[in-house]
Amino acid sequence: MIGFWAVCKRELKAYFTTPVAYVFLVVFLFFAGYLPFELGDFYIRRQADLSAFFRYLPALLAVLVPCVAMRLWAAERRSGSIELLLTLPITVRHAVLGKFVAAWAFLGIALLLTLPMPLTVAYLGEPDLGPMLCGYAGAFLMAGGFLAVGCFFSALSRSQVISFVLAVVVCGILVYAGMPTTQGFLTGSLGAGVAGVVESFSMQSHFASIQRGVIALGDVIYFLAVICGWLAACWVVLDERRAA
């Protein structure tokens, strides 16, 4: 576990010693504030809740989380430092987990910095705290899921651009598979059964379920399965193709 903490600490520091963290935070916080107010009709709805904020979060995270993830392994491959890291007394599993936890903690910080949103809602009305807290928990789990996808594609290529594009495509599919328009199309063309199966694999539907204020075990298991599955795939790729 010592190697895990060392990698985790180094990675988290690395975000803040390069412009990556600051650029990400500025862009994320801008859109996290802009979208609910401008497109989400935050004032027009006259409801003291965060549903306008959470509505746009999956799509926003699907694009921005791969930005955080793309450098994790692709940059190591590009610079050759992967050879330094994986010849230190540390297992590939600990290195994968260390990097993932550091990036997840960074995304947690980014989500915490959106606290002015719930504070604004609390100032304007009397919101129900349960759905807000559940929404944040769901957003953190969803960010972890997207991050695990990004980790996998980052391990696959030494090009950060390729890693980013592939991760955005997969994250986009995981979001849009559960959108009402996609579900309507699938139900009409392939039947309700297939649409239901596709929906069960969608981050959007599991996040929407948590956001309503109930953290169901099935939803938590879904997100943990997504995280563990993609991280395991990342581990296998690094183990098999570490010199690629």
Binding site: I2, T17, P89
Partner: protein, 239 residues
């Protein structure tokens, strides 16, 4: 201290290392010599557990690189080809990270870092970001991280490549000083380096061992200087 037994590694149809066996003991500086593409770096990557061998095995201080890779890595210090580092870190931050990974606790840390800073002359750049350092200093930082836990085995892949003559002299002097109580493996294609520091030489070509002897014995057996010996041994196999 280092035992290599019938190591083999292929990349698709290319056989990079083919049935390589040798051993090296404490006090030895073993030069692994060969033309570009001879399999030197691949052999070193397998010894440092970065690449798994297709067949055969190796052990570092009795730790098998396939069965107990973490223990094997604890016993060695490695400077990879081109000395990759985390360029956004400062030298101080980087050495502390290596101490964290290598379990050098707070009590021993100050002493370990002071030792490598002095040995590798890193004092003037200690608080500088690695990406702003000259190539010579970056090599020294890489050497510093390999020495920080005072390993019994050192594996250096082309340690003086790209250095100016003064820096080469310093690195070779350092290797000679350390060779008394360590087993050092150096991969190189620079023949003057072999003459300067190596007590024994292995010549690899086409992934296989073509010669294993002291530099003097090689010269005696084949006649001429090391360049001529190298040409004689490798010319016939170079593809």
């Amino acid at each position: 201290m280092v035992v290599v037994e019938r190591l083999r590694r292929a990349f698709g149809p290319i056989l990079a290392v083919n049935d390589v066996s040798f051993a090296a003991e404490k006090g030895e500086v073993l030069g692994i010599l060969g033309p570009n593409g001879a399999g030197k770096s691949t052999a070193m990557k397998m010894l440092t557990c970065f690449l798994p061998p297709d067949a055969g095995t190796a052990s570092i201080c009795g730790h098998d690189v396939r069965r107990t890779p973490i223990q094997a890595r604890r016993s060695l210090g490695y400077v990879a080809e081109n000395a990759p580092l985390y360029s956004e870190m400062t030298v101080a931050g980087f050495l502390k990270f290596i101490c964290d990974v290598r379990r050098i606790g707070p009590k021993r840390r100050r002493e370990a870092i002071d030792n490598v800073v002095e040995t590798c002359s890193l004092g003037p750049v200690y608080h500088q970001t690695i990406e702003t350092l000259s190539k010579g200093y970056q090599r020294r930082v890489a050497l510093g991280q390999a020495l920080i836990h005072d390993p019994p085995v050192l594996i250096l892949d082309e340690p003086t490549d790209g250095l100016d003559p003064n820096q080469k002299h310093e690195v070779r002097k350092l290797i000679r000083t350390m060779s008394r109580d360590k087993c050092i493996l150096i991969s190189t294609h620079i023949l003057e380096e072999v003459e300067a520091v190596c007590s024994r030489v292995i010549i690899l070509d086409g992934g296989a061992v073509r010669a294993d002897a002291t530099p003097q014995k090689l010269k005696d057996d084949h006649g001429g200087d090391l360049t001529q010996v190298f040409r004689k041994i490798t010319a016939g196999h170079t593809s």
